[in-house]
Amino acid sequence: MAEHILLRHRDIPGLDELDVYLKHGGFEGLRKAVTKMSAQQVIDEVKASGLRGRGGAGFPAGLKWSFLTPGVFPRYVVANADESEPGTFKDREILESNPYQFLEGLAICAYAAQVRTAYVYCRGEFWDLAQALEWRIDQLHQQGLLGEQLFGTKYALEIHVHLGAGAYICGEETALLDSLEGKLGQPRLRPPFPAAAGLYGKPTVINNVETLTNLPPVLTRGAAWYKTIGTEKSPGPKIFCLSGCVVRPGNYELPLGTTFRELVFDRGGGVPSGRRIKAILPAGASSTILAATDAVLDTPMDYESVAAIGSTLGSASVIVLDDSVDMTWAVLKTSRFFKHESCGKCTPCREGTYWMLHIAERLHAGRGSRQDVALLETVARQIQGKCLCALGEFSTMPVVSAVQNFRADFEQHAAGER
């Protein structure tokens, strides 16, 4: 893609400064929304664009907003800037280098949801970014782009930054809400969904940073233009995070539907040190570990195509494993992460992640047996479908797929052959 739509700072130096952002059409999307469109028209335009949530679930953004319980106020919008999935570092680049486009997107979403107070839930480790964001929100107030009577209308909006304190689970939207309410970040039982009873029990929209950053161009350039990028069911640009065993790791903004092969080899320069690619995780530590066959590498990275090969696009964080990587080690790493991050609310996740780590450690250390390989899979299967949120489910994805796709790695360890 010649032009960056989300990582626009790569084309325009200094875009993190408000005057530069304004010079390049900044806040024209919000101006158009607030002065020329009703909230419903904004929702309709976003629906028509086909924009799907970029946090992982891929749920259509406009549709999500339309579920807000009518007539109940105040409502809230919360931007999810809790980016914590291993392999994911896209929201951070937006917040760092194109922050005003994100803030404008958040304001557009707030207008569409008829919200007067929006929060940015920023992971605690993004301390410097959160400080910078607060300073930028001040700048917007000074320019009359936030606060009372926006663009001479009756619409008013405040944005506050709320800093998390180190908990992956708070990226899950209901855990995020509880955390923002000053409680432990643990997921809620649904229904009710946040659109009916979210923050402080009020109708709430939660969207990912990248999703919101799509909104200004959707409004200024229109849904029809937006749909010319990507595929029919997964329209628009997407930031793909490429990490692991690649020559050029980093963020790549490409149309949805670009193949894994193009990302890993053409953009990322392939695997270094004369090694061969062994496997990929398409969606960070939460995804299945797929053998890097030609069929997998030639799969288009859109929500439907990745689902069709038994995985998920998720947050599109592609981790590459080369042929030196032992899958018992990879599973040990992902299991350690999920065991640490399980919030403890649901027993299958809390206990299951503990035991998966325990067995993976045993196998990796060469102290396991063949029964342990089967036991690992059994424990994973018993977590599936039994937890309030997706974390438990996620923790099993790399485990079950690695055992199925790379059984030899596990059985070699079990037999003490390594």
Binding site: E83, S84, E85, P86, G87, T88, F89, D91, R92, R123, G124, E125, F126, W127, D128, Q131, H160, H162, L163, G164, A165, G166, A167, Y168, S179, L180, E181, G182, K183, L184, G185, Y200, C241, L242, S243, G244, C245, P249, G250, N251, L281, A285, S317, I319, V320, L321, V325, A330, K333, T334, F337, H340, E341, C343
Partner: protein, 166 residues
């Protein structure tokens, strides 16, 4: 003590949230307490609880739940290395081991001068620039990316000199 000395800062924090939901301020107030005391001592739990009309236990549970709050003192600077899967693929585990060896400590330990604690932590969203770590002190958190053991040691030396200069 917090309530009197930091009144205006506390008011600014509370102003972010609806008055009837001031419990939302517990996380920023815990950061404030940690800045003032270096960690979150029992006394701070009581102070925050009193400010928000919740129990000290409710405040304390958050300290245990969230990884960036500490209920006991550590090194003045916490060097927190991400060793999750993507970083480990770029040598973060070997980096952590070697850094600790050069500092003469175990992972999770603190240097003899009490200034530097080195810990392994979960993903910090900087996978493409590993080895990397964050340095957390009472004032905040800063990232350091594309590191070598030598560059990390040089940074640690700078932190130590800053302390000596006072």
């Amino acid at each position: 003590m917090l309530a009197e000395t930091y009144r205006s800062e506390i008011e600014a924090i509370l102003a972010k949230y609806p008055p009837e939901h001031k419990r939302s301020a517990v996380m920023p107030l815990l950061y404030l307490a940690q800045r003032v005391y270096g960690h979150v001592p029992p006394q701070a739990l009581d102070e925050i609880a009193a400010l928000l009309d919740i129990s000290s236990t409710q405040v304390g549970s958050l300290v245990g739940f969230y990884s960036l709050y500490y209920d006991r003192p550590g090194g003045k600077y916490r060097v927190q290395i991400c060793t999750d899967l993507p970083c480990a693929l770029r040598g973060a585990e070997a980096f952590a081991r070697e850094l600790c060896r050069r500092l003469g400590i175990e992972l999770g330990g603190t240097t003899a001068d009490g200034l530097i604690t080195v810990e392994a932590v979960m993903c910090l969203a900087a996978c493409d620039r590993a080895p990397m770590f964050q340095v957390q002190d009472a004032e905040g958190i800063h990232y350091h990316e594309n590191q070598t053991v030598d560059s990390a040691l040089a940074l640690i030396e700078m932190l130590r000199q800053g302390v000596r200069r006072g």
